[in-house]
């Protein structure tokens, strides 16, 4: 720029060569290529299995036998979905997943509610009503988060037996509450600890006790973390197989057990299309929960997980 313009002078007229306003940007910049490239490649990796499942579930068996699992269906059929939902057999029962669906609902709803209620109460107690020994419980819980479920299976069977609730819905709810507790308690504790302590003090001066503060002050302002806890528990409990199968009976088997039965009961050839449809149907509830509440989930995560 050799024609250095005096800044006070006639710059305002500005030649077109003179930079002015926003710097022009190319759409296909190197940065965009890298960023979107990364995202798209990753997106393919993540979306591919879902694509394959959907496509396969819409094909007939002859088409599947021909090969390409990535090819879109030539002839779309909903037969596999119908079969998976209401006709697939396990042993003598040929009513597909439909039976398990309501069992799953009956198991999931109270388990989610109770496990979250207990965990949020734990978090609240740990964050606001610290008493001697509370930290010890918490440390044990955190370590408990690392214990494989299989290891705890036997002791759990014995505990439930001694409590006389083995094989009942209550028993299963207890199991889910116990094993959901470590992570959920951690989340709730972090969340409540990040709330201004003065809120708690103000309520105490106002004469509110433990339960009043919990129900009337803390609960109403914890929506984000409740959403996170709910999503984690709904997916966790809905997807649970081990406890569902060990702690229930055939007529109360959840959907995952039915799914396992359908997928693992091979009748001659593997009916991939039915299996895929069954898989999709089983995953549908948590998937819907995710798609609906994705934004809230991210917000809640920010509130509960990041502040370590």
């Amino acid at each position: 720029m050799n024609t250095m313009v005096s800044a006070t002078g006639s710059v305002t007229s500005g030649t077109s060569a003179e930079p002015r306003g926003a710097k022009p940007k190319r759409v296909v910049s190197r940065r965009n290529v890298i960023v979107y490239g990364t995202l798209i490649v990753a997106a393919i990796y993540y979306i591919l299995p879902l694509y394959v499942m959907i496509v396969t579930s819409l094909k007939g068996m002859p088409e599947i036998r021909l090969g390409n699992i990535f090819a879109p269906p030539v002839e779309i059929t909903f037969e596999p979905w119908v079969k998976a939902w209401s006709q697939a057999c396990t042993g003598l029962n040929c009513d597909g997943l439909s039976r398990g669906f309501w069992n799953s609902v009956i198991i999931t709803v109270p388990s989610v509610v109770i496990s979250i209620a207990v965990a949020s109460l734990n978090g609240y107690t740990l964050a606001n009503w610290r008493f001697k020994g509370a930290d010890v419980f918490f440390t044990i819980l955190i370590v408990g988060a690392f214990i494989p479920y299989q290891v705890m299976l036997y002791p759990m069977v014995i505990i439930l037996r001694e409590m006389g609730v083995y094989g009942t819905l209550q028993g299963l709810i207890i199991v889910h509450t116990v094993f959901g507790m470590p992570i959920l308690t951690l989340l709730f504790r972090n969340y409540f600890a990040a709330l201004p302590e003065e809120l708690f003090k103000a309520a105490r001066v106002d004469g509110a006790g433990f339960w009043n503060i919990y129900f009337r002050i803390m609960l109403p302002i914890s929506l984000p973390i409740f959403v996170v806890a709910m999503i984690l528990q709904i997916t966790g409990i809905w997807n649970d197989f081990l406890f569902g199968v060990v702690f229930t009976k055939p007529d109360t088997y959840p959907m995952t057990v039915q799914l396992n039965n359908i997928v693992n009961s091979v009748q001659g050839v593997k009916e991939y299309n039915v299996n895929m449809a069954a898989t999709l149907i089983t995953g549908l509830v948590p998937l819907i929960v995710y798609f609906v509440s994705g934004k809230l989930f991210v917000r809640g995560i920010a509130a509960g997980a990041v502040k370590g």
Partner: protein, 361 residues
């Protein structure tokens, strides 16, 4: 008049850390007491002990002559206003105000009456149906006070209620709190680390430092006759100028020498005889030094280093007796750096401290 709040030998430890150490404090009925001190000195801790939100390790607390050391906060007859206001975000203003009363199971009409009265006093009538998020800082503050007001308590506790506000609002609300106190005539205990707040609001100020009360006096006494070096340096902005030196006598009169410069102590009201040879610190407030005024027994030359015009006033920083000092003059008098000025001091307003004990002499 009776004592309203009385703290006896209060000690509080967090594990090994002693935050309050055998603290004693008596507050009169209807008094406005300010606890002033730098961050971390234990002000909030003391207030929380009085409120019953922290359990003291030792000692007793009396409110209205009743030993409340082990009472629940709600049974102490106190109301509290917090720094962040701590309004319940999910409740409307009205619900915020009435929450405590509803918890206590008070009759609906009585609640309404009290809320109405508080909202009238604080002029928040039109806001009653809003949620805290829809209020400005000042309005939130008023609601927070209202929450204490409806509970009809004897003692109001404030924990830095203005520190989150900007300067302009702060000075407005200061006046409002003062007015409120004049109307209600409750006992108020107010924690702050802003000395202007302390000076303007308090009937008495308790200056705290690491869990101990350094001086408990009315604002003017604290400002003009600080008990010790810490109080002297803490109060006043710009801060008091300090000179380290020695007491001597010149012409048979007591004097103070520092770096070869002599200050005659004529007019200083010493607490006892001034022993020549005592190492001492002389404190002079920037506004008690006159510049280029009539000569007195103490008139020195100095050079202007920096000028800080602050509108109404002008603060000039000078080099004197080998150290930097500040002098406050009228906003319309200007000195540029390098200018020579004549300084004169009024020793009746000065403070003198023993260099060792740091106590006023």
């Amino acid at each position: 008049m009776n004592t309203s709040v009385s703290v006896k030998d209060l000690t509080l430890k967090f594990g090994a850390i002693t935050v309050l150490d055998k603290l004693n404090l008596d507050i009169q009925d209807g008094e406005f007491l300010v606890l002033l001190g730098s961050s971390g000195c234990g002000k909030s801790t003391l207030l929380n002990c009085i409120a019953g939100l922290l359990e003291p390790t030792d000692g007793q607390i009396f409110i209205k002559d009743k030993n409340v050391t082990w009472e629940e906060p709600k049974d102490r007859g106190i109301g509290m206003v917090f720094q962040s206001y701590a309004l319940y975000p999910q409740m409307t203003v009205e619900k915020n105000l009435s929450f405590g009363l509803r918890i206590a199971g008070m009759a609906k009409e009585e609640i309404d009456k009290r809320v109405a009265r508080a909202s009238e006093i604080l002029q928040i009538g039109p806001l009653l149906q809003r949620k805290p998020a829809a209020l400005s800082g000042g309005q939130r503050q008023r609601v927070a006070i209202g929450r204490a007001l409806v509970r009809d308590v004897d003692v109001f506790l404030f924990d830095e209620p203005l520190s989150n506000l900007d300067a302009k609002l702060r000075s407005e609300l200061r006046v409002e709190i003062k007015r409120l106190h004049q109307n209600l005539k409750n006992t108020m205990i107010y924690v702050t680390h802003d000395q202007i707040e302390a000076l303007t609001l308090a009937d008495r100020i308790a200056i705290m430092r690491s869990g101990l009360i350094q001086q408990l006096d009315d604002p003017m006494t604290i400002y003009n006759e600080p008990n010790n070096l810490y109080v002297a340096g803490f109060i006043g902005s710009p801060a008091m100028n300090f000179f380290k030196g020695e007491i001597t006598s010149a012409d048979g009169r007591p004097a103070f020498v520092t770096n070869g410069v002599t200050f005659m102590l004529d007019g200083y009201r010493a607490k006892g005889p001034l022993q020549p040879g005592t190492k001492a610190v002389l404190g002079l407030r920037p506004e008690h030094i006159s510049v280029d005024g009539p000569e007195t027994v103490n008139t020195h030359q100095a050079v202007v280093e920096i000028e800080e015009p602050m509108g109404a006033d002008n603060l000039i920083w000078l080099k004197h007796a080998g150290q930097s000092m500040s002098v406050r003059i009228g906003g319309n008098r200007r000195y540029s750096p390098g200018a020579q000025v004549k300084l004169a001091y009024d020793m009746s307003l000065a403070s003198l401290f023993d260099a060792e004990t740091e106590l006023r002499i």
